[in-house]
């Protein structure tokens, strides 16, 4: 027999998490699919369920200094409607499912589901997002790439809840999000691409490039980004082939029911090239 709990405060929830192994349930739109059963029977949850949507404090979205903090209870629609949501995150979230799901699903849930095809995750990688993991008596902050450890796997510890997503609000005059889905809306990703760059005085002041659904987790390389940082237009042109080759080596997708490895890789590189050629170079000229 699976039990469920509906705490109304965070300390209450954390206390419950301490006492037993439970599945935190925020929007639950991935969980309800994963554990769906015959109509009229209960979803097949393997463990007790902790509902988080009755905790008002988790629904908050706010800016603290230069950081956007999105509570674990905030829905995707809330994220879209919030005026200071970074453009690529808004676009990524708008590309998820359809209004009826975005009104329930949460950003935190999309992260904890840790799907390689999670659209918000790709954008959040490029935005240097981190997550706050809370437990009774403390919390820790982890960069997103350290939190997501594999398909469906996270480093969420026993008794911990992901309570907040933090995004540093940096200057970026170039923001691109592209999703290639199985159709034009209400679609799952074949792959996604996120790019954030700040161009100052003709050189790259900062850049982040992330690729979703082309590997077990989002592909992003700070090392390669470092190579690009501080470069001028002319220097990028010289490096162009190397950059493409380096990313090509990192992007190792698979075949599945939605697309093929060959397509995913080629299109990921096409989107990168397009960003470098039409986006970046144009902005630097």
């Amino acid at each position: 027999m699976v039990n469920s709990y509906r705490p109304t405060t965070l300390p209450e929830a954390l206390k419950l998490m301490e006492t037993r192994d439970m599945i935190p349930f925020a929007g639950g739109t991935d969980l309800m699919v994963k554990y769906q059963s015959w109509k009229g029977t209960l979803p097949r949850f393997p463990k007790d369920v902790l509902f988080l949507n009755h905790i008002p404090s988790l629904k908050k979205i706010e800016v603290n200094g230069e950081t956007l903090a999105i509570g674990a209870g905030a829905t995707l629609s809330d994220v879209i409607d919030y005026p200071r949501t970074p453009d690529i995150l808004r676009e990524a979230v708008l590309s998820i499912a359809a209004p009826g799901i975005r009104n329930i699903a949460t950003l935190a849930g999309n992260i904890c589901n840790a799907s390689p095809a999670g659209d918000s995750i790709c954008a959040l990688y490029a935005l240097d997002a981190s997550v706050i993991l809370s437990k009774s008596g403390g919390e820790r902050e982890l960069p997103l790439p350290e939190f997501i450890t594999g398909p469906g796997k996270t480093s969420l510890g026993r008794g911990e809840l992901l309570t907040e997503v933090r995004i540093p609000l940096k200057e970026a005059n170039l923001q691109v999000f592209r999703k290639v889905g199985t159709r034009k809306a209400n679609a799952l990703s074949k792959l996604s691409f996120s790019a954030v760059a700040e161009i100052k005085g003709g050189t790259i002041d900062g850049i982040a490039l992330a690729f979703g659904a082309v590997g077990p987790t989002v592909v992003r390389s700070k090392e390669l980004e470092k190579k690009l940082t501080g470069k001028t237009l002319e220097e990028i042109k010289v490096l162009y082939k190397d950059i493409i080759d380096d990313y090509s080596a990192m992007i190792v997708p698979i075949d599945d029911q939605r697309s093929t490895a060959v397509y995913r890789k080629q299109v990921a590189l096409n989107l990168l090239k397009n960003f470098l050629e039409s986006g970046l170079l144009k902005e630097m000229q």
Partner: protein, 157 residues
């Protein structure tokens, strides 16, 4: 099992059930809200759409426990309102209804859209309906049905 209360079509109700039971099943089995249809059970088709706290949601994705205290409107409630009547009549007059299985969900999506935007253009309508699948109509006449609803109900929304 737990006793869980919420507002259904303007009335306070409660039900003794497992909080993990899908809202879709609760509405259909415990409250005979049969206008809420099950088309997929995986949040893809929108046939089970209801309005929960003013927002369109797929009721197959919501366990009862998550809906505690919520204000829920189903097609049974919507059709009794002035707005609901305008949508039903507009859908009927424009030929938006074919097999009808998706239609109550489409009505809910139309209502949710018009509450936010009482004068939507075609692309806004199409976007608002993108989670409600229909296999009969090709959508053109449903889009028209929503447009006509907006025109006829301009003083309502």
């Amino acid at each position: 099992m737990a006793k869980i209360s919420f507002i259904l079509n303007g009335e306070e109700v409660s039900v003794e059930a497992d909080p993990l039971k899908r809202l879709l099943d609760v509405l259909r089995e415990d409250f005979e809200a049969l206008g809420v249809k099950e088309g997929c059970g995986e949040g893809e088709c929108g046939a089970c759409s209801v309005i929960l706290d003013g927002k369109l949601v797929n009721s197959c994705m919501v366990p009862l426990g998550a809906a505690e205290g919520a204000d829920i409107v189903t097609p049974e409630g919507l059709r009794e309102t002035e707005k609901g009547k305008v949508i039903v009549e507009s859908f009927a007059d424009t030929g938006a209804v074919q097999c009808g299985f998706c239609t109550p969900g489409m009505m809910m999506a139309a209502e949710a859209l018009l509450e936010k935007n009482n004068n939507p253009d075609e692309s806004e309508i199409r976007e608002a309906l993108s989670g409600n699948l229909c296999r009969c109509t090709g959508y053109d006449l449903i889009v028209k049905g929503v447009k006509v609803s907006a025109e006829r109900g301009k003083d309502l929304w």
